[in-house]
Symmetry: C2
Subunit: 149 residues, 2 copies
Amino acid sequence: MTNPFKTLEQQHKGYRVALADMLPHIRFNEQGLVPAIAQQYDSKEVLMLAWMNQQALEETLATGRVCYWSRSRQTLWRKGESSGQIQRLQGLRIDCDGDTLLLQVDQTGPACHTGRRACFFYEVDGDALIINSDVLIDPEALYREKSTD
Amino acid sequence: MTNPFKTLEQQHKGYRVALADMLPHIRFNEQGLVPAIAQQYDSKEVLMLAWMNQQALEETLATGRVCYWSRSRQTLWRKGESSGQIQRLQGLRIDCDGDTLLLQVDQTGPACHTGRRACFFYEVDGDALIINSDVLIDPEALYREKSTD
């Protein structure tokens, strides 16, 4: 079957189709997951990349609060459920071939389990890798109430 | 073995380690790939997500021109080799657990095979999915010289 996202790609800006007609065609991988990039909606900082299954995506769209699939814990992961550092959905985009999501979010505090604002804190600098940001909140304080993220 | 990226995470901003000591610990998946997000370095627009194997990453760091692994063609994919729309590497970041890359690039023209600037042109708008941008360059013109992207 032709990928419906490919079929629509020649349409012009402003072209509309029912979301319910396209969601079933998102191309989840062999584990039933798609990568989801979280970008702070106003500063445009890329905060993290996580994974969603169909249920996590549907819940996120229904509630406006971002829910991922935790590959390590094999369960739905309502971002911030342990740390309180939630993500409110401001916008959601799907890429040209329907296999990647871009979430525009409003992140409360740190997105990263280390207590840093963003997960991409290892930065290449010539022959070195440097840490580019400090912790905003000590992770021991973030996770004091619960045992895991 | 403890993930070396996890071991370093408690270090402070400005901490440096040899890049050569960390590259071998990047956590490529079972297909030998990591997701690589490409973000326009100045506007911060997220352009696309593609995949890199170790060779693609090493070539990108060595040449400063972004090279991915094409999953559909199972070959190295020097971005722009067909279309001329190359990506110059301005910065490279690795996430907290060493399994995702964030490339800050300077993208010549459209990043997307459709001729649009970015691949994330399907945007959720209530119950609809809308196309949020127009084609900059007709893909037939982009790929006139070669048969595939």
